[in-house]
Symmetry: C2
């Protein structure tokens, strides 16, 4: 089984986290994760190909935003809440609250245009 690299907490960089969260699909994934704690890739109802979704989860993992663990054939994804809170207090909450109060989710589901 492949080893999935996760950066140490000290190696999580603000600009990388902000970049990871600047994509509508990845913002959607994060907001789903906040609601459901842990999800597999297949649980995300996003309008992209399987390989594209895999790319996005990798981006989130390598930036230090999420943890990924294997369970059978699945990959279970969760937010690195504690690490992020210690490193960047309040950041994730303000971003996801802002996301929930915006219409970015609808925009993404309706077509990804703009």
């Amino acid at each position: 089984m492949k080893i999935l690299h996760h950066p140490d907490r000290a190696d999580i960089h603000l600009s990388s986290v902000l970049y990871a969260l600047s994509d509508p699909v990845r913002l959607f994934i994060l907001s789903e994760l906040r609601k459901h704690q842990e999800r597999s890739c297949g649980d995300f109802d996003v309008p992209v190909a399987k390989s594209t979704l895999s790319h996005h989860t990798r981006t989130l993992r390598e930036s230090g935003v999420v943890n990924v663990r294997s369970l059978g054939t699945q990959r279970l994804i969760s937010i690195r809440t504690d690490d992020l809170e210690i490193r960047f207090p309040g950041l994730l909450t303000s971003i996801l609250d802002a996301y929930e109060n915006s219409d970015e989710k609808q925009q993404m589901l309706l077509g990804l245009e703009q």
Copy 2:
């Protein structure tokens, strides 16, 4: 004199703001603006060409993060604090606080690598 387009408050999108703030040079500019209220382009001591700096300020303006006004030959830049606070409460503060407590500024000044 050229008209500088600024998006309306309602047209400021979270993903665009996060993207604008995911660059080390632009994060540095924002942190300087928080300290000094209003600055001209020339005030920023960043290791990039003049045309590149102009590009960065444009990215910040078009994403809705900053306001730019002309004064003589200068362009005075300031953060759209009120608009951002209304649209995304607490977001900018948590991002800039995180930035100040990180070493991203040093990393940027030392070479932009990584």
